[in-house]
Symmetry: D2
Subunit: 307 residues, 4 copies
């Protein structure tokens, strides 16, 4: 990577050239609140040891959605241990969509991995706490330590999801039926909807990416989570982080990444830097069209791929 001004210019050019691809996708419609997003928005940020570089709509706040699965998985791994987690979720990628229920019935009767909705709900059920507030504080604390600022949730998105998340409720009750969800279904879903509603911007995502690239070391230079948990989560981000588009993303971009249906993508260039994009128009697999397009470009220029 070249000098400072080069990097910013690269990001600006990237946003300028790729913003138009938004028209190939559609803003998420299944959570009513998400429909309000402007599909034309596009932002990109790079967090490096030398500092933050950004371009485009990087000051816009959006909800984490599925990107939160990375955080709760880290919490569950740290608080409950690897064995407890893998007693409830598998570690295999799947060709099915992120909210599919089929494999729960036909397969091994546990979610194939922690990055699909069913798996993430199972992981949420493992986060300890006497109340939803207490459970949520583990996730919030982790994120606040990474970002170095207090975090908040988008109340209207949270309510919207809680009211309309029928598919997620179906997944949770199915898990309960097959002994795949600890505790109360309503509480676990509440926790899941809250973590999905955490507000971040593109720069925040790049900071999370840098934290993972540094194997769990925070900006202050101290470890926040264990390197082993980070390695596990990074591996899942490669094999299943982009839903059932993970295989193609591995080929085209080649880094651990996690997308959310609000349009964010969190990327990790191991040992080097964090990279993040924002663009609310999604392809039919649920990944940001502009985001993937920009990351492909950056991967070519900056030689991202770990493969």
């Amino acid at each position: 990577m070249g000098a400072v001004f080069d990097c910013t210019r690269l990001l600006e050019e990237t946003v300028r050239e790729h913003r138009k691809f938004a028209e190939r996708g559609q803003v998420a419609s299944y959570i009513p609140e998400l429909k309000k997003a402007d599909p034309k928005m596009a932002g990109v940020a790079l967090m490096t040891p030398r500092g933050l570089f950004e371009a485009g709509d990087t000051d816009v706040y959006f909800t984490l959605q599925s990107i939160s699965k990375v955080l709760s998985l880290l919490v569950a791994l740290e608080q409950r241990g690897i064995e407890s987690v893998f007693a409830k979720v598998g570690s295999e990628p799947t060709g099915d969509s992120f909210n599919s229920i089929v494999k729960l019935e036909t397969s091994e009767q546990k979610p194939l991995n922690p990055m699909i909705n069913a798996g993430a709900i199972a992981v949420c059920s493992l986060i300890p706490g006497a109340s939803v507030d207490e459970r949520f504080s583990h996730i919030a604390d982790l994120l606040e330590r990474i970002l170095g600022r207090p975090i908040d949730i988008d109340e209207s998105v949270y309510k919207s999801e809680a009211e309309t998340g029928h598919r997620n409720r179906a997944l949770a009750y199915f898990l309960k039926d097959i002994n795949g969800l600890e505790g109360d279904v309503g509480e676990v879903l509440d926790l899941y909807f809250r973590q999905c509603s955490i507000l971040v911007n593109c720069a925040d995502l790049a900071r999370i990416g840098m934290f993972l690239a540094a194997k769990g070391i925070g900006e202050a230079g101290f470890p926040i989570v264990s390197a082993n948990a980070v390695r596990l989560v990074s591996t899942f981000m490669v094999t299943c982080g982009m839903y059932n588009g993970s295989g193609e993303f591995a080929i085209q971009v080649g880094i651990p990444a996690k997308s959310g249906v609000s349009g964010g993508i969190l990327g990790v260039v191991p040992g080097q830097y964090g990279v993040a994009t924002f663009g609310p128009a999604l392809d039919r697999k649920g990944n940001s069209v502009v985001g993937i397009s920009m990351l492909r470009r950056l991967s070519e220029v900056l030689d991202f791929s770990i493969f």
Copy 2:
């Protein structure tokens, strides 16, 4: 069919010879209350224009469970019309088990038929009423008119199902997500669990069978529901009434029938009589082992089959 004493003797012999097959099955375990049933019980009843014949444990009350699907489908057809019903459920049999969720995702996005759980829950959502009580009264009224007596529900089975019916909740929320369930999910499930908990005995089931055999004419000689609704329901009982054992049952017994996981089977010999069996030990498809065995025997002797 021969003289009165012959019929009773046939039924008594049938119970005596077939009761032992209970050991080939198991009492339903997924609703905790149902586990308490004595697997050795066996009863059979025949309701004919000449009166009721019965043998074995015919005075034991048990809950309708899936047999209630016949009643709510009749109510929905009468109150909402054929088109409204078939907008929400299909009319095809399925090779999948009664509580399967797979086809909701992979197939036409509505339950394949009203005899599987997902379809029956969708049908319940169509029964009109400002409250669950009002909705339930339609089903109760129909059954009370058929039986000529007030009916009741088993409160402990009802509570047991409401607490543990996670799979049915999963089905209901999935339906809600695909726009397949009208109104409030909790209310619809409450109605479904109530109808499943209605108490009957073997003789009651035989009376329901006679009512269907008479194309909807009650014992007093007046029509209670339309002949067309009865024909539709009878057809479903042939193609899907015995879950994914319906095809084999059609071959071996050959009459419209509906089983429930508490061990009852409601049978219809069109234009002739109603026949019912009771025996709580189930095969792995959820049908009474002793019941099917007795009905096969009776079908041979009395030449039941409509085929």
Copy 3:
């Protein structure tokens, strides 16, 4: 049923009113030879103890296709016995399409029933004979005895299927892999393609229907196959004869029937008469649009339904 001239007039009116519905369907395209059929053709025939009544394109010859499954199942049941047959095929209807392979892998590892392609191929493998010619002669003999005339196959359809029947080959090899097909895969498929290519017209199908309605008694008054085999086959025709449209057909028409993708439908009104239709335009489940439409009409007028 009224006087002779009434019946013919009813059939003529039926053809006249329903022929136009052909435009709602499409001629089968997956066997190249079948594409040549004129979608506007429509014919109907009724074979009764009083003789044959017919209207429309009843002199047009077409290939049996799936209707041949009825004949080979009768042969297999008579020659090999019920147990041998059901060791290789199940007896349950399915919500999947006629050429689906999914359930072979996910389900009980045998075809769900003998009316889907996989099941019919398994049944063909059971027909005895030292050569394909010898095996085929059993099927041909049965049909010749029913029709009282020599039969023939359409060589170009036969060749067309043999060359392009890749899906059927896939099904056959899958069966071989799960030990569900006796003997040589190529020979069994050859037999299957030959039986599918047998030439009949609408009147022939009505004669087959009458033979089944008479429980296996031929026109000469002597039994050709056992009543029990006919009852079994008739039951399958109700639960699975119209592919994954069987449930709807049971509701709308209500008789044992078997359709073929060349446009024929063979119907049985048990104890009364045979009924057959022809119309090459198919709905998306593979059943003749005009055929089903005419049978619905006739079922209303002549009160066909066995339910």
Copy 4:
């Protein structure tokens, strides 16, 4: 990695400690010839710029089986181009087993990726040539250039597969039916069975691994295939190389790898070296039990993981 003697000792210890885990698996049984392998065999080899290190049964020859998919994919990518290849196969991992046919019907109607059997057969169909011999020579040539020696196939394994490979025939005909296989089905399968029957030993696999680790540069220092094709194939090896055990392998070992049912595993430590194991006892997903166990150990000691 330490001095030469250390490496050999590490490999020897690894074989000694892990050989016993063979008892947790079973030798592949679906190809009759493979059943003859001794489950107790265990070998490991490391090919580095400094030379080859090996321990255990590394002189035993076995057939490539699925490891050959790596070679034919390289040939197809080089000869036909990326677009032609991805027109016939997808790039997504799958939770289904390597010989599953389900997704071909329910999903996007092309194999999910080139590492499952269906995908590899589709890839074989893309390898150009006027005859099977000519097509096969492309694969053989590539391998001979990598290994620097003439290669051979195991005729009895080849014949055994050709005679009993019914499931692969089913997959191939299904592909043909959905327009997913170019040319003649029999020829393509012949090619597939031949590539599966190529004989190698553990050291050979380590050499292939080194060749991939060096991004396509052969031992003589010249490029044999393009770096981009190697990157693509390496990515597939991570996301789908170990069948539906790829996700767990990524977590536990963390390198591009490809297993075969004869017991070999080909591993790549990008930019560093090739690593290979041999052990015929397989887990239920089809991967060598001893091989995975040894690779986990080596990954811990040598810090293999790319994540």
